[in-house]
Symmetry: C2
Subunit: 339 residues, 2 copies
DNA sequence: GGAAATGATGTAAACGTTTTCATTTTCATA
DNA sequence: TATGAAAATGAAAACGTTTACATCATTTCC
C-alpha cells in the first residue's frame, strides 16, 4: 500500500470554496472569520483528515517549533526521567523534542550539537560534562543559539540553567551519614572531576564534613566501566577504612556496592552507602539505596518551560534551582559504636 | 545576544559568484562541477559557516528525513537502550529521530502517533501494547504510513517487525528453571495479558513446562504500580507453592523479588526468579538477576535499518527475529532436593 | 441615502531548498 | 576555423505554509 499524497491547504480550500488564506486563518485562529465559513472549513478539514504540513509551516515561520535535547546518556534513569518531563511539557505546548546523547564523549557531544543546529531547532536543553569550561557552550553562545543548561550550573548568570543545588546536595549526603554516627567518610566519583556536578557535590560534601570537625574524606575516582572493586581496594584495605560512602550518583552507588561485596564488605554492615539521583530501582533492591533525590521529571518540565519563556523573550535567563530531598534507605544504617 | 540570520544558499552563491543551483549541486554531490568552482564554493561555505536549512530542503524534497519512534516508556532500560541503538544507526545515516512515549496508555499511544504523523516523519518504529489488535496500527495502515513494529510480533506477515522470538524466550526461561530442578513453576505478568509480548512469553513458558511433564504453572497478574506482594500472596500462602518464577520482564522481576521479600521469602533460598530483557542493573544487584537477554541496542539498529530499506522500497516487509540468550544469575539457583 | 468605518475574504509574495530545462562554455574533431 | 557534442552553469518553478495588502461586502452614523 503506497501512501497517497496528503491533502494540502489547496485541497481544503477548493473543497470548501474559499481561499487558502481563509483556511489558514481558520486553523490558526486569531483572525475574524464568519462563523459559518469557519464551520464549513472545519468540516472539510475533518473530512479530508487534513493536517498542516510542518515543513511548509516551519519554513514560512522561519522557525521549527522543536527543541533539541543533548544528554550524556539515556541509560541512566535520571536522564530518561528528565526526558519524559521535557516531552510531557513539550507535548502540552505542541512542540517537538529532538533527543541526542553524547555518551560522555566530547567529540560526540559536539557532533550531536551540530546535528541539532542543522535541524534548526528553536532552542536547546543541554547537559554538558563541564559547564564551567565547555567548547560546546561557547559555540552555542557564538552562534547566538538560545539554550538552557540542564543538570548543570554555570558560573555565568547569563547562562540559564535548571538544576538542583549540587553543593547543598553533597552537604546533605554528608550530614545524612554523619547523623548516623559515621566518622570516617569517603566519596566515590565517576571518571571525572571533569564534571561540574561531581565537583560541586564533592565540594559540598567536604565542607559539611569539615564543619562537623571530622577528618577530610578520601576521594575515590572509579571509572564507570572498570571494575569498581579495583579502585575501592586501595582505600578499603588500609586500616581505619571509611564506614560511610557518598557516591556521586545512584548507578555508581550500585556499582560501588557490588565492588564492596566483591571485597567481602557488607552494606550496610561494614559500610554505609548513599547515592544521588533517586532512581526508582534503588527502592526495589535490597538493601534499598539511600539517596539524595532529584525531581528529574519536574526538572525536565521546568527546563522546557524556561526555554520557551526565553525564546519568547518573556523572561531573562534564570538559574533555576529545584529542591532535592534525602530519601533514607537500608544502605545507610547507623555506624556500629565500636568502629 | 540575538541570533543573527544564518547564511542561505543565496549568500553563499553571491559570495562565490555562482548561482544557488551550483552551490546546491556542490553540496549534494552527484553532479558534474568544475573542480575549481567546487572548491571556491566549499571555501565560502566554510567561511560563512553555512548549513543547509532543513526546512527548505525537506519541503522541497517532500520528505523529512526523520523517523518517529513510539515506545511505552523510557523508564524501562530495555527501551532506553533500544532508542540508543536507533539513534546510533540514524545518526550514521544522517537521519533525525523523534521519540514519543505512550506510558502504556492507548489514548496517549494514539495521540503520540498523531503527533508524529503531523510531523510528516518518513516512517515509524512502533511498540504497541498488543500488535494483534491495535487501532493504532490499523490507523497507520489506513494512512499508508510505512512503519516497523518493534518488540512486537504480528500475525500479519505484511507488517514488518523486529523482535526476539518471545515464545522461544518463554520456553527457554522455563527450561532454565527446570534444569535447576524446579518442578512447581509460576509466571508473573504485568497488568496485561493484553500485551502480545507477555502472551507469547506465557505461551512458550507453558508449552515448555508441559513438555517436561510438569503441572501447569499458575499465572500471577501483578499490576505494575500496586504492591506486588498482594498479588503474590494468594499463590504463595498455599501449600505446594512454586519454587520457580518467571517474570515477563526484569523490572517486574525486581518488583516481584521485593514482594517476595516482604512475604518473608528469600530469593533464591525459597524461590528462584528469572526475568526477561537483560537490563544492566540486573547484574549489579545481589542476588544478581537471571534473565533472558534481548539485544536491545542491536534491535534498535536493525529496526532503523529495516525501516530505511522499506522506505527506499529496497526490501519487502520482513519479520526480523534477533536471538535472545540466557544469562545466569544468582536469583536462579538449584531447587532444594526436599522441596 | 450616502460616506465612512468595519468585517470578511482573496491575491500574491515570501521562506530556502532541489531540480528541470535552457543556456553558455569548453574542447575535441573535421 | 567551423562544428557539434559534452560539460558546466544559470534561470525559474515548485514544495505548503503564513501574512501584508488589496478588495469587496456589510454595517453604522450623520
Amino acid at each position: 500500500m503506497k501512501s497517497q499524497p496528503r491533502p494540502t491547504l489547496h485541497d481544503v480550500a477548493a473543497q470548501a470554496g474559499v481561499s487558502i488564506a481563509t483556511v489558514s486563518r481558520v486553523l490558526n485562529g486569531g483572525a475574524r472569520i464568519r462563523p459559518e465559513t469557519a464551520q464549513r472549513v472545519q468540516e472539510v478539514v475533518r473530512a479530508l483528515g487534513f493536517r498542516p504540513n510542518r515543513m511548509g509551516r516551519d519554513l514560512r515561520r522561519g522557525q521549527s517549533r522543536a527543541v533539541g535535547v543533548l544528554l550524556p546518556t539515556l541509560a541512566n534513569p535520571v536522564f530518561a526521567d528528565s526526558v519524559s518531563g521535557i516531552q510531557e511539557a513539550a507535548r502540552e505546548a505542541g512542540w517537538t523534542v529532538l533527543i541526542t546523547s553524547s555518551d560522555y564523549d566530547p567529540a560526540q557531544e559536539r557532533a550531536a550539537m551540530e546535528g541539532l543546529l542543522a535541524e534548526r531547532v528553536a532552542g536547546l536543553i543541554v547537559t554538558v560534562a563541564d559547564a564551567e569550561r565547555s567548547p560546546t557552550l561557547d559555540a552555542l553562545d557564538e552562534a547566538g543559539q538560545p539554550y538552557v543548561l540542564f543538570h548543570n550550573e554555570s558560573p555565568f548568570p547569563e547562562r540559564a540553567s535548571v538544576a538542583v543545588d549540587n553543593e547543598a546536595a553533597g552537604a546533605d549526603a554528608a550530614r545524612a551519614l554523619i547523623a548516623q554516627g559515621h566518622r570516617r567518610l569517603a566519596m566515590v566519583a565517576g571518571r571525572f572531576l571533569a564534571s561540574d556536578r561531581s565537583r560541586r557535590r564533592h565540594r559540598g560534601f567536604m565542607q559539611a564534613v569539615a564543619q562537623a570537625g571530622l577528618p577530610a574524606p578520601a576521594l575515590i575516582e572509579a571509572d564507570f566501566n572498570a571494575e569498581a572493586a579495583a579502585a575501592l581496594g586501595g582505600v578499603f584495605t588500609a586500616s581505619g577504612r571509611p564506614t560511610g560512602l557518598f557516591c556521586s550518583n545512584d548507578l555508581l552507588a550500585l556499582r560501588t556496592i557490588a565492588g564492596l561485596r566483591a571485597l567481602g564488605l557488607a552494606v550496610p554492615g561494614d559500610v554505609s552507602v548513599i547515592g544521588m539521583d533517586g532512581i526508582n530501582v534503588g527502592q526495589l533492591i535490597s538493601p534499598s539505596l539511600a539517596s539524595i533525590v532529584q525531581p528529574a521529571r519536574e526538572m525536565g518540565r521546568r527546563a522546557f518551560l524556561h526555554l520557551l519563556a526565553r525564546l519568547a523573550e518573556a523572561s531573562p535567563p534564570a538559574q533555576i534551582r529545584l529542591s532535592h530531598r534525602y530519601r533514607p534507605g537500608q544502605s545507610l544504617a547507623a555506624a556500629t559504636p565500636q568502629e
